[in-house]
Amino acid sequence: MIGRILKILKALNSNEAPWQISLGLLFGALLGLTPLLSLHNLAVLFLALLINLNISMMLVSLAVFSLIAYALDPLFHQIGLTLLTSPELKDFWTPFFSCPVFLLANLNNTLVLGSLVSTLAVSVPLFFVVNVLVVKYRSAYNAVIGRFPLLKFLKVLETYEKLS
């Protein structure tokens, strides 16, 4: 885990685009907050491997959000129950669940639906917030490096080592 965290720190200070780090965090949140052995997580895993996001960030995020998920279980169940039993949505769910894939994905389970909907709802704003935070972190980091000639030298040395 420490190795993973160091990798994240490295990634934060590397040339990786902020969206890669943000997306890693979001995918980890999706995997961690929703029940892991669900069909939709197979799709998430596929996308995570296909899209060039930061895997280390995703794995650490998965571990952290799995812990948070346990605390949020009752809330997710309540959200799922509200959505699935809402009379206004009954006309939507009935044809929706006629499709076997959604039933197989356990989307008619209060916890699965509640956690998935909640995570997806917060993921879009979270993506942009994390993006901004990464950019801010990097500019702050560069400012610190610029103030200390020794750190600047080490950074140049590290770049040189990579290139050579």
Partner: protein, 601 residues
């Protein structure tokens, strides 16, 4: 800082395929053991008894599952297996399984055995959380428990009978006594309140006063006031008389009622005696009869056992409302599944047809069942089970047809069974008498409506019967019965049962009663008479004292009758006195005044 990066990494797909492949391979390799554990755990949870599976093999290609040696332990007898299945093989629809529907088109169950001894005792079932509920204890039933001429022949002691039985006489006397006491107390209150003797005295005093007053009247105005007073007094007397007449009428009614009750009570000991005689005496003319005594106990036990089994199965055959949410609170981290009605409603579980091969007490029986489903209403077909057995050592033929129809709101279930020439195992009836051989033709028709109302018949014809008995010199009836039964070669039993799970009544008829009645009546009747005499004496002795008090019931009300009569004559007398002729003396001009103020009497 330059932060441009490729969006996709193609090598990720390769990694995904490898990872997914590993997961799939892992699942496929472990699928059998996962399913086996699942069958064992879920089966144990649902049946509340240990379920063991020896082997389970799935074939995704042919979409079939093969289960070897399934054992379901008896929760009440841990050394015994309630059910054993040598092999269960079925095909399933993988496509429908994605919709979480288990549809089995064809199934084969081989080597089904019941009540077999286990090699190792089963573990008692412990519910995951509750663990507190005591398992329902079921009476251990011996194959012939309840049968017995010995019990049938023994007359119970009248003293013991009266300890166990409630006599209607005593209960009715208690009830009637309370009623009479309440009547008496009501009458006392009414008499005290409305016909108080003090009122009569006051009335007499008023008339005396009027008499005294009437002697000195001269003034026409005073005479007029006087006559008005007489009128008022007469009205009051008349009102009292009306009340008395009314009371007399009601009192006579109540006295008659008390008399009737007393008469009714006197007839009750006879009724009690007749009831107890029918229940405990073996009078073949009117009692329960030998055959009834012999079979009613064990039949009742079997019927009760059948009801229990039926009620255990029933919940699994009922349709669930498709939109009904699971009422149980979800376990943390598991959530709750909500069901939605499909565009076309169909069962979640269905076995369309299945072939069976059973082994019951060493006899091979073949059969089949069809349309076993969790939602018979949407499926539209009832569950049918047919069993057929060919000629064997035990019987010449067996047919069994069960139909559980839950396709309509009102459940209609029926069972037809026919056994031809069943080889009867030795049946000991106690005290040395036993049916050692015989062949029975058995036919049963049972209908259950709405899971509550049972109506059925059972016909048993026994042929080639052989009764044996070890003679007992000191018991004449026993000896005679043994002799008579020894000559019996065939008999029939006709049982009609009706009722609900709470109360099932049996009506048993048999020619065995007539055979026995003709043969042993003389000796037997003497014994029965002796018993009945004792029973009658015991009933009379128990009811004598309470009955003696019934004669006083009317006597408790008659003093009121006397009082009413006495008051009636007193008021009549007062009414005669309260007239102007008696009270008003002759005064000059009084006639003219009276003519002017003519009174209405």
């Amino acid at each position: 800082m330059k932060t441009s990066a490729r969006i996709f990494r193609i090598q990720g797909i390769v990694v995904f395929v490898v990872v997914a492949g590993f997961i799939a391979a892992f699942l496929i390799l472990l699928l059998d053991s996962i399913l086996k554990d699942s069958v064992e755990n879920q089966g144990t949870r649902i049946l509340r008894a240990q379920v063991d599976v020896n082997s389970l093999a799935t074939s995704l290609m042919s979409q079939s599952i093969d289960i070897g040696n399934l054992e379901v332990a008896n929760a009440d007898l841990l050394n015994e297996n309630l059910l054993e299945a040598g092999r269960i093989k079925f095909d399933f629809d993988l496509g429908r399984a994605f919709s979480k529907k288990i549809i089995i088109e064809d199934m084969r169950l081989e080597g089904l055995r019941f009540n077999q001894q286990r090699k190792t005792p089963a573990q008692p079932y412990r519910p995951p959380e509750e663990g507190k509920s005591e398992p329902q204890k079921i009476e251990k039933e011996t194959p012939l428990s309840g049968f017995g001429f010995a019990q049938a022949l023994k007359f119970k002691s009248p003293g013991d009978i009266l300890k166990e039985e409630k006599l209607e006489t005593l209960e009715s006397i208690d009830k009637a006594r309370n009623e009479i006491e309440s009547l008496k107390s009501n009458w006392q209150t009414r008499m005290d309140q409305q016909l108080n003797p003090d009122v009569l005295k006051q009335m007499q005093q008023r008339i005396q006063n009027l008499k005294a007053q009437g002697k000195n009247l001269k003034d026409p105005a005073a005479i007029q006031a006087f006559t008005a007073e007489i009128q008022a007094v007469r009205r009051e007397i008349q009102s009292h008389l009306d009340t008395i007449h009314n009371f007399q009428k009601n009192l006579e009614k109540d006295i008659r009622k008390a008399g009737d009750l007393a008469v009714e009570m006197k007839g009750l000991p006879q009724k009690d005696f007749a009831r107890l005689r029918k229940k405990y005496s073996l009078d073949l003319k009117g009692g329960a009869g030998f055959a009834g005594k012999m079979v009613s106990g064990p039949l009742k036990t079997k019927i009760d056992k059948g009801w229990r089994l039926y009620q255990q199965i029933s919940p699994y055959l009922k349709s669930r409302s498709p939109s009904e949410p699971d009422p149980a609170p979800p376990e943390r981290g598991k959530g709750q599944f909500i069901k939605f009605p499909a565009a076309q409603r169909s069962p979640d579980f269905l076995i369309r047809k299945a072939g069976l091969s059973l082994n019951i007490q060493g006899q091979e029986i073949d059969g089949n069942f069809s349309d076993l489903t969790d939602d018979p209403q949407s499926h539209g077909k009832p569950f049918l089970l047919n069993l057929t057995g060919g000629k064997s050592e035990r019987f010449n033929g067996l047919k069994f047809h069960l139909s559980l129809d839950r396709t309509r709101p009102q459940a209609r279930d029926s069972l037809k069974a026919e056994v031809k020439s069943l080889n009867i195992p030795p049946i000991p009836f106690g005290s040395g008498i036993a049916l050692t051989q015989g062949r029975a033709d058995i036919q049963a028709h049972i209908h259950i409506l709405d899971e509550q109302n049972l109506d059925g018949t059972l016909d048993i014809h026994v042929q080639n019967a052989l009764f044996t008995s070890s003679e007992k010199k000191n018991d004449e009836v026993q000896r005679l019965l043994g002799k008579v039964l020894g000559s019996v070669q065939g008999f029939y039993l006709k049982v009609r049962f009706k009722g609900t799970p709470a109360a099932t009544t049996l009506d048993i008829q048999s020619d065995l009663d007539q055979i026995l009645a003709q043969s042993v009546r003389k000796v037997f009747d003497e014994k029965a008479r002796e018993f009945e005499g004792e029973l009658k004496r015991a009933v009379t002795a128990s009811t004598k004292l309470p009955l003696s008090e019934t004669s006083g019931w009317t006597a408790g009300l008659t003093p009121h009758r006397k009082e009413l009569n006495s008051q009636e004559s007193a008021y009549q007398e007062l009414l005669k006195q309260a007239t102007e002729k008696v009270l008003l003396n002759k005064v000059p001009g009084a006639d003219t005044i009276l003519k002017q103020f003519k009174l209405p009497f």
